[in-house]
Symmetry: C2
Subunit: 405 residues, 2 copies
């Protein structure tokens, strides 16, 4: 939560932090502190125990004031950027401006930097700032911002719940459409034409738009053998057919910047006994994991419980890799159980064998076991849940229907 | 162009470059070299004069091979990431992996880093890599990648033309809808309800989705006084009314990662004499700028020509700030004339008073003069053009209709 920043700064003996970027696009730390997006980004400056300052372009002044999270908003021009450009050139003007902000705010101790920027700029800035006597220090992961963002406040939880519900509507509409496709000898038709993944995806895009959501990372709608590759988005030219595993993983973002992440696996028509076993395994792994998740348990412990289920059913899991039995597996449960969701689609905390920290109330994570058989297909079931003191609260209740009959 | 990377490396005496990130989302440099998006990103390594290597997650292996731009794709596991994690912990494993890639490829000279990453990770990586004897060097702006990306090859031009055309369709459909709104005493109705910006934007979103485009940065549809703030996206609750200036700036991104950027200014109904003067000024400024743009002229020269027109018509321009006459202006032509468009919506080259370099054939830029009157409204007209030897080629021809009568 935003209110934890001072505490996290004190714990690391950081005197000031700066979050900077020329856009807030996909820059969760900058979006987080500003309260929304700024087309041209800005510089957020915070001295420990003091109120923050935001320096931005005159073009974004109105927007920054509208978000209202930072009360003190000033422009680059007010900080003399043009003068610095004339004197030192465009490139050096920027680190000079940053060091000026530190100096005028009486900062002489540790300063940490954040904001998604290209490392070419990063290398230049860090070296220059140090030359200008700014004590740029390393903030190891989890950084102050990652730590603050890891638990969500009630406003964030409401935003995340809202995206999840809208996402749930899109999934249910899609499921209904899949169920209504005309079937003829295993082939499916939509509005008189052979149904392709491309057509279904285009329908999903319109549904997302109608809910006010975008999908900057795409949508996974993979059929048959493609579904065995967890990140195969699905070939738009492939036909949607009966009796094939379909992994539908949809992770849209709302204008608020918050994401949702839900996966359903279907078969249109009847599933084979093998497919049912695969599905039941993943379903049970998710149920067991959800039963275990609560404040205080570690991601590793939950991951372990999910692997127990999947291994007992005869499939391999990535535990073999962590135990050094093999260097990699391509079949079975080949990824981790879940990840945090917020202003990014993958953030702390994780539910993996590397997650030793106890989970905390207010964290929001995906629970997404999957089992994949190369050349055949895969099953993944995913929901996003809020961690509470005694268990979990699923952000959106979305039907789990395996066979669309 | 991608083929210029070796030349740019040699010119800067860089022995190797690495582009890294945990996602390609909004990471144009990584997307550029990979040829598409990878959900979990990767490490792109290139030694000067050698073919590149891409190290990625097993989950993205299939996708990386599908893009096909890098022939040699290997996994983190093959590079022993898990072993490094067990030995050194999760955090230190990553810079160790990177230094291992440099070592195994015989790199002992200058190495430059790229890829959009949070500066907290950046600071850590740069310090660690230097400790592991990787000679991390500054690549000042324009970086190797910025320089390569600045001119587009024919495949990129085709992708950019395709986005621009689709964007043009969306604009024309929107204009048609605006023209068809039922009018009654200055008020407008859509499907029997009072037309609001929110309703128009929702229609625009659906049109974008139907064209396979997304708008991760939003859409500007600002009316009346709001249109005087170039980055005011428009309040969804405001009514769309007759006789008010409407700035409609739409900058969608295609799945290919490429963007389009076009702005039209309208008035529904009849424009006042003042509004017409404002519009004609901006229209003429754009025409004059487009007449001047060609290979060899500088962005500054073109900006200057646009300012000449606008000042002659009695409005202020940002030239006053660059000439030191004032520290900032809030009315008139308050921004620069244009910017490059490609895998980002704002990249090199710029058409501003700071742009001394001659423009090159194959660059793609916006031409977008605007004049704004605080508290009243603004006019901006923008097209995206390809710079050719003798002039320009407008990527998409889109109607310029000021009065929607």
């Amino acid at each position: 939560m935003l209110s934890q920043i001072d505490e996290e700064m004190r714990r690391r003996h950081v005197q000031a932090l700066m979050i900077l970027g020329e856009t807030t696009l996909a820059d969760p730390n900058l979006t987080y502190v500003v309260g929304g997006t700024l087309a041209r980004g800005g510089v957020y400056f915070k001295r420990v125990g003091h109120k923050p300052l935001l320096v931005t372009s005159i073009l974004d002044l109105g927007t920054a004031e509208k978000w209202g999270r930072v009360k003190q908003v000033e422009t680059y021009s007010e900080w003399g950027l043009e003068k610095l450009v004339r004197k030192y050139g465009r490139e050096e003007a920027y680190p000079r401006l940053l060091s000026e902000i530190c100096r005028k705010n009486g900062v002489n101790g540790k300063v940490t930097l954040y904001g998604r920027n290209d490392l070419a700029l990063g290398t230049y800035l860090i070296d220059k700032l140090r030359r200008f006597n700014v004590n740029v220090s390393v903030d190891k992961s989890p950084s102050i911002l990652e730590s603050a963002r890891e638990t969500k406040d009630i406003h964030e939880i409401e935003k995340l719940r809202s995206v999840a519900r809208k996402n749930g509507h899109v999934i249910e509409t899609t499921t209904k459409t899949l169920g209504s496709l005309k079937r003829k000898r295993g082939r499916l038709a939509l509005k008189g034409k052979r149904a392709t993944i491309g057509m279904i995806k285009s329908m999903i895009s319109s549904e997302l738009a109608a809910e006010g959501l975008g999908a900057p990372e795409g949508v996974i709608f993979a059929i048959g053998a493609s579904s065995a590759d967890p990140h195969n988005a699905g070939n738009p030219n492939y036909e949607v057919k009966e009796g094939k595993l379909i992994v539908f993983d949809i992770f849209p973002q709302a204008e608020s910047g918050y994401w949702s992440d839900i996966t359903r696996t279907y078969i249109i028509g009847r599933a084979s006994k093998e497919d049912k076993q695969l599905y039941d395994t993943v379903y049970e792994a998710q149920e067991v994991a959800m039963d275990w998740i609560r404040t205080g348990i570690s991601g590793e412990q939950v991951m372990s419980k999910a692997c127990d289920v999947i291994e007992r059913r005869g499939y391999r899991t990535i535990r073999d890799v962590f135990q050094g039995k093999t260097t990699g597996i391509s079949d079975g449960f080949i990824h981790s159980l879940g990840h945090g969701v917020g202003l990014t689609i993958g953030e702390r905390p994780n539910l993996s064998f590397l997650s030793k920290q106890p989970l905390k109330t207010g964290q929001i994570v995906t629970v997404e076991p999957g089992v994949y058989l190369s050349g055949y297909g895969g099953v993944r079931i995913e929901d996003t849940v809020l961690i509470t003191k005694s268990g979990i609260d699923i952000l959106a209740s979305v039907d789990k229907e395996f066979e669309i009959t």
